[in-house]
Symmetry: C2
Subunit: 170 residues, 2 copies
Amino acid sequence: MSLSMYEVSVPLFVHTLTSLKAILQKGAAHAEAKKFDSFVLANSRLAPDMLALVRQVQIASDAAKGALARLSGTEPPKFEDTETTLDDLVVRVDKTISYLNSFSATQLDGSDERTVTVKTSRGDFTFNGLSFLRHWALPNFFFHVTTTYNLLRHNGVELGKSDYLGRVQN
Amino acid sequence: MSLSMYEVSVPLFVHTLTSLKAILQKGAAHAEAKKFDSFVLANSRLAPDMLALVRQVQIASDAAKGALARLSGTEPPKFEDTETTLDDLVVRVDKTISYLNSFSATQLDGSDERTVTVKTSRGDFTFNGLSFLRHWALPNFFFHVTTTYNLLRHNGVELGKSDYLGRVQN
């Protein structure tokens, strides 16, 4: 009848990161089939002043691991942002999934009421854990995963909504 | 210490729909300032076989209202999909917010365990309410909001991440 913070965070992030991995693999396969360097896709942008695909994936990864670290009051592992290819990004996503799967539900107990502060270029924002998750971490995470999908789709990779929604399961 | 299904659905959808409304209004203002018909933006696509902006917003609206209807075991209001301009879409988003705000927390009690079936062109999917929310309704909703943002951004509307994340609050 009642939910835990774990139930509305870890399985959600892992599910969609698994889709993101599959989407990146389709992008890499597309580049290989069309005989162009996947570096082109990795550096593609939807607008000159939007971030390139590599950064979109790095930030999706950071949004997920940063959310769990903040909610549990621990330090996230630092990933060095050295990825340049879609294959590198698949490894990044895998590392992120492994980190998320290291959490137990008890580590997040009570985190809905934990004070979370996010430092941004617009100043610091302070929320409780629940508002941080639903109004910051989740929207931010899905933004960067969807933008990655849109970048590949815009560049001709054959993807459909089912690649994004992933394998449906309870 | 424990969350309700209401807490991880209605406030989340309303928060991001409020951002979507502001994003659409910035799109409309941009078209007016540049003296072109906002119909062009409303019909823009990121790929020839992706849905146009109008449909992205309609589906975001349907994802939110459909989620609450399914979780509460009620019928959602039918919106006729007649919007053609960004201003029309702002009205659609407002109607969606009003519908979501009509729910009380008790209407969703126990909905994490409710059986939800989604009919798609790929077949029917059946989940419990929690899995439906976190693996289907939320990813789908954020996909269409983000794609709307990306379409406007790709077409030169001056938007930033803060427009998407919205006003941060507990």
